[in-house]
Symmetry: C2
């Protein structure tokens, strides 16, 4: 529904642009939500993007700008006069300015820094210094600061004076003279308190805070746990330097989930949307794991080669190799992916490793036995009776025992590797299906040929 | 760090409980964050959970209760007197009450409904009626309602009067006499406006709203796009019936990502944390796909069987089967998982299908050729020179050509199936790696044996 609405808006806009009906165009844009406009702009010609942007009411311009993709932002910034550039960037919050600067080429960055006032320039440079994955890199410095000795009505005056430029006024931060964070006060507390009480009396002491260098994914997890709208960020001396707001935390959570999913599928993470990523970049993100996994499959190949004579005398066993390998890979993938997600949601940690292993062993035996029974029946009824493959009962038993052993080992490897990886400081997500599959393939073939040579005497 | 802190708290608590030092225990608990207490309680004995809960300061009790897992909630509710039950549930927001009721056995639900006042009981029953995946099921009915003709100072009086019981006071909803939603006013607007202006003058008209029956995942996506703190929910007549707050939207986003990840790993989604899920349930969630995928591997087995004679005469070809199958599976998995995530983030939709296919074909050929070259070199240098497997150049070429074809088809199948699934109303996430692997296995073997018989004349 929404998609159709946008499509018809696009037709109208193209018509108005073609007919140069700029007044109607301006009215149409003014009635839209700023967040809906970038999607439309992406589908326009380069020159029409600039035209449309200049028609936007002044107070909407920076709201629209901040939601655009960096490609379109670049087009605009390059077309902007110094005056326009200043108008747009003066309205942005510092965290958004920094995000944009990080995506722009050096000459554009220089222009942006030039039009910023010295105070902002200093702050931009400070925030740019924080590592990419730190709380400091996603914090904003526009927040309301109160002192403990202020009264509630002083606080309201302060909020009215400075609030318009702040990203959130719903949580205010109480600091001492030396800027140490001593408490927080929500707008709800202020609105529901007597106006002559002091902030010190009504504030929540010992609020949750994070350090500038804390991992931004840990910060996002705090929002999930405590349902906050903002969390204060302090430096090593516990002086307040910024806040992280819930909208930025949501972005971090979504990026984190996407990254985990990509790593699980043996792709190196990218932070661009699919359609914006060029084919060379997509290739570059996918080929390393494909290559590595292909080369490690040499091991499996060698195992098969070393049983060449056994296989030549009993080729029917070859037909079960894909089934055994796929089932092992799937069973291991289930365990590893479950544990990886549980680790990343904080449901499981290294101290649970024996609980996890004991649970996976029991589930694995149950899965393995169910599969073995189903497979035995299938061999007799389908492979033999229907297709006449002539699998002997002994051969069928070898396949079924291998199945139980493979599934058990696959689940064991699948649950252990991600936890060990996390323990030694690696990312558990790369220990997902493709990696597990390669290991499990080799193990399951060894078990298979082991049972086959022992039990069938080939 | 946080984990260690909790572990030492646990020791202290166990010591205080053993020594019956209840006053110290009460003081310790009062100083903690309500969200940290449930984690500690989970690790206590059943009877100590009840004891600890009764020691909580009154105003913390329901905050702690709402964060607990349903197992612990059940223990408490069963131990509660009617009076305690009423005390805890009177403090809960309606959406939380409904969430808890949904997890409780019938006799507990009856007790909860009995102690609720008639108005609340009616609302609970209404919210319970909405489907599990709808906006209605996650909305809260505690919000601030204003009329357009009120002044800003009337609005403040209203907020002070009713605000304490409302889940959010930061967005207020403006309705007509017939309860139709006509606008929203944020607390920021109110605090920064002249007190004698009317709400009608300062409100944002035509706010974004959702319908009670809209999919909750679509609602969560709106939060991601518009950075709201709450979104109003209306019925078919556009009358306001509730709001969805950002904390509930975050929960939906996290659940959605977990579900997608589970489906991608061939697991049926569960909504319980890993350690809380019994082994029978874990088995039940994993076995259906394992069985289905095992049985469908029959096809691959049959393909190998039908080339039995060819293989017996050239067993060296068998050694490459695992590598070809794994690489095909990995390549297809990369494409399918990327597209599934892009679909679920709204980066890609069905109208982009040709763009996607064209892009995947080019990436696939690049990946396929890179892999083929690497593989050819590997066969000559490692398999032949190092291990002396004696692979002929013709055989090596067959393997490499198959590799290019397999990777291309795998990526094509991997990107197309999720989009088609979405188009016809299925969940694209089940079209992930394991499913794609099974299809790609069969195709790659057919290609392999096809090339082998044609080019090698076996």
């Amino acid at each position: 529904m929404e998609e159709k609405a946008l499509a018809s808006d696009l037709d109208v806009i193209n018509e108005l642009v073609a007919g140069k009906k700029y007044r109607e165009l301006r009215e149409l844009l003014a009635d839209m939500h700023p967040q809906d406009i970038p999607e439309l702009m992406e589908q326009l010609d380069k020159k029409d993007i600039v035209l449309l942007f200049r028609l936007l009411p002044k107070e909407m311009a920076s709201e629209v700008f901040v939601e655009m993709d960096s490609d379109e932002q670049k087009i605009l910034v390059e077309a902007f006069t110094e005056h326009e550039l200043k108008e747009v960037f003066d309205e942005l919050y510092l965290d958004d300015t920094v995000d944009i600067i990080e995506e722009m080429p050096a000459n554009v960055v220089k222009r942006i820094l030039k039009i910023s006032d010295p105070e902002t320039r200093k702050l931009i440079n400070e925030v740019l210094k924080y590592p990419d994955d730190s709380a400091g890199s996603i914090m904003t410095v526009e927040y309301v600061r109160l002192q403990p000795e202020m009264t509630v009505s002083d606080a309201f005056t302060q909020i009215r004076r400075v609030g318009i430029d702040k990203e959130t006024i719903y949580t205010c931060y109480v600091t001492n003279r030396d800027k140490t964070l001593v408490g927080i006060v929500t707008a709800k507390d202020l609105m529901l308190s007597d106006t002559d009480k002091t902030i010190g009396e009504i504030m929540e002491e010992e609020p949750i805070y994070v350090d500038t260098l804390d991992d931004k994914e840990d910060v996002a997890a705090l929002f999930n746990k405590y349902n906050y709208l903002a969390i204060p960020v302090v430096d090593k001396e516990k002086r307040l330097v910024g806040i992280v707001t819930v909208d930025d935390a949501i972005d971090v959570m979504q990026e984190e989930a996407t990254e985990d999913i990509e790593k699980m599928a043996a792709i190196m993470p990218t932070d661009k949307p699919y359609l914006k990523t060029g084919i060379f970049e997509t290739w570059r993100k996918r080929i390393p794991w494909l290559l590595l996994l292909m080369v490690s499959a040499t091991v499996t190949g060698n195992i098969i080669s070393s049983f060449e004579t056994a296989l030549a005398s009993s080729v029917v066993l070859t037909a079960f190799i894909p089934m055994l390998m796929d089932t092992g890979g799937n069973a291991g993938g289930q365990a590893s992916v479950t544990i990886i997600r549980a680790l990343s949601l904080g449901d499981v940690s290294f101290k649970n490793i024996f609980t996890v292993i004991w649970k996976e062993i029991r589930v694995a035996v149950m899965c393995g036995v169910s599969l073995a029974v189903a497979n035995f029946v299938k061999i007799l009824l389908v492979d033999n009776a229907l297709f006449g493959h002539g699998v002997t009962v002994a051969q069928a038993l070898v396949v079924c025992i291998t199945l139980v052993a493979t599934v058990t080992i696959a689940k064991l490897v699948g649950c252990t590797l991600p936890m060990l990886a996390k323990k030694i400081g690696f990312d558990p997500a790369v220990m997902a299906s493709p990696f597990i599959t390669t290991i499990v393939d080799a193990i399951s073939l060894l078990i298979y040929f082991g049972f086959a040579t022992t039990l069938l005497g080939i």
